[in-house]
């Protein structure tokens, strides 16, 4: 079809002059949607490869058939996919998305590119809470043995997040100070963790070390359900505030002048972020980097209009962790590496190349 023909079928009421800024904006929005779709495709691909990879390798067709019609495939394949690999593969996606969204919103409300669950001490607090249970058998609140470690980790992480928030609400505390406080928390909890490791039995020490490395392999359907539920609650709440959160990045004064209750928005966001950061960490251990890099990738690709930025962060984080899960299983056949080692090792070079190759346009931090 020629260009003239295209113009001819256009509805004259919506037709725009070709050089109008309006048309250019619509094109920009379409480009962002296309990028989101691209990220989603990457994620699905990584998810399928994740299901294919393991001690037994399956073809895409087998995996898809096992997912679509479980009764039509051999029992062995069905069990491996549904009971073993699917919860882990989905957990990688849920945890990656949760950590990246948590990081994105921490960076937004603290107006600092260094903010993430890892750098603000929330992950370190979770490790300490988990170690309390693993080494001393201390439960912060009584719980079934199975859930003692995650519950401890969650309570410690949530307290750290709330402490950060409470301090940040004090008059005269700048967002830079908050980040410094977070770094102080990292050191504090790391020292406390070392102390516990020092007194731990050899067996407990092994458990603590393994936990702090982060691993998806102990995923169960209930743990996955809790993580997914947290994500399902928090993401829509953030999306409802998309314009307000974007406005926050224009500066506190200007956001307030737009009629936004900045204090309240910060408080609500911080509470949701605590949940988003603490729940996954309590189930899978500390996984660094995703919460920092996921949002940065999203920002570089798509900018900070939160209507696009939030889903992009979630997709980028999910795809990163899913890809890390594949790599953690493929490095040495039969052996699954702790995933946080992989996230850093494949994430860092990728991140560097992205930072160095993008134009100044998307690098304003």
């Amino acid at each position: 079809m020629t260009g003239a023909a295209l113009t001819a079928v256009r509805d004259p009421r919506t037709a725009l002059p070709p050089n109008s800024k309006r048309a250019e904006y619509r094109a920009l929005a379409r480009r962002k949607l296309a990028l989101l779709a691209g990220l989603a495709v990457l994620l699905v691909a990584s998810f399928l490869v994740d299901l294919m990879t393991g001690p037994a390798r399956y073809a895409v067709s087998e995996v898809v058939r096992a997912l679509a019609a479980p009764d039509s495939v051999p029992a062995a394949l069905r069990v491996v996919i549904w009971e073993i690999r699917l919860p882990v593969a989905l957990m990688a996606i849920a945890v990656g998305a949760a950590l990246a969204v948590a990081g994105a919103q921490m960076q937004t409300i603290l107006n600092n590119p260094l903010a993430s669950p890892f750098t603000l001490g929330i992950s370190a607090a979770a490790s300490f809470g988990a170690a309390l249970a693993l080494v001393l058998g201390v439960a912060i609140v009584p719980a079934a043995l199975d859930y003692m470690v995650p519950l401890n980790a969650f309570l410690a992480a949530a307290s750290a997040a709330l402490l950060i928030h409470t301090l940040s609400q004090r008059r005269g505390v700048s967002t830079e100070t908050v980040v410094l406080l977070g770094i102080a928390l990292v050191f504090t909890f790391n020292a406390l963790l070392s102390l516990l490791q020092f007194v731990a039995s050899e067996q407990a020490l092994g458990a603590v070390v393994f936990w702090t490395m982060g691993s998806l392999t102990k995923t169960t359907w209930p743990k996955l359900a809790v993580t997914a539920a947290v994500l399902a609650v928090c993401l829509p709440l953030f999306m409802c505030r998309a314009w307000a959160l974007t406005a926050l990045r224009l500066g506190e004064d200007k956001a307030a002048s737009f009629g936004i209750d900045v204090r309240r928005l910060r408080l609500e966001t911080m509470l949701l972020v605590s949940l988003l950061a603490a729940v996954p960490v309590s189930f899978v251990g500390t996984i660094g980097f995703i919460g920092l890099v996921g949002p940065h990738i999203a920002r570089m690709l798509i900018g900070e209009d939160q209507r696009f930025f939030l889903p992009a962060s979630a997709l980028a984080g999910a795809a990163l962790l899913s890809a890390s899960s594949v790599v953690s299983k493929s490095l040495i056949p039969g052996l699954t590496f702790p995933i946080s080692i992989v996230t850093a090792l494949i994430g860092v070079p990728f991140f560097f190349s992205l930072i160095l190759s993008t134009t100044r346009r998307w690098r304003s931090w």
Binding site: G251, R361, W362
Partner: protein
Amino acid sequence: MVTSMPKPAPTSRPTLELSGVGVHYGRGAQAVPALSGITTPAFRGGEVVAVIGPNGAGKSTLFRRIAGLLGGPGAVRVNGSEERPARRPCYLPQDTAVAAVLTVYESVLLARKQERRGAWAVEDADLAIVDAALDDLGIEDLAFRNLAELSGGQRQLVSIAQMLVREPQILLLDEPTSALDLHRQIEVLTLVRRLAQERNICVLLAVHDLNQALRVADRVLVIAGGRLVAVGAPEAVITPALLEDVYGVRARVESGGADGIPYVIVEGSARGAGAPVPAGVPFLRAAE
């Protein structure tokens, strides 16, 4: 140009009236009044009111109080009512650097959508208003530049565009021209003046340059040390005596340049030779 923007539905002339307005920082016995007892006649739509006073006089505090960002004693009456108006006064804070990865167009659209508590969907009507605002300010070329790349002056123009798309009834501009060159200052102030009249907006404008105040304002409100010093017609308020009181400068006010507008010539400090020049007098010219 301006006519390309859809006119707001004709409403009754907005008014803004302050009675005994104050702001206290701190609490209890240590409360420090930053502003007290500001009472003004009613300002009306179509009117530009210049707010002048030395640095730290409380100009920004007054604006934040009127915009509802600060609480305090006294009453801010918009359209005769003390209740929070449906369309709150639009306050343009002083310019600050922005690191957000957003294009100019997106940031102006954002202001529009946030004002309307808008859904995600962007209507063509919203975009038409954004287009018109960028066009009015002559920054349509910047539309798809990133905010972080802009110069201070360009940022100020973008900020003004963000205010315009909110279709304000009452507009509080805090030093909107501080980063603009002389030509752009005049351009922007002339535009503000014209928009006030065409769209029936009541504009309060904090400026340092007294000649700008004389040129653009229908009335001048002078504050110093958090108190109201004077309010009235520019020629009546800006007098040598007032300038000496408020700024501590010796100055002449010449009645009428080429275009008949009076202008101020600052001749020096009134606090003795060698005394530091008080901050806040931009066009200081030594007497020869």
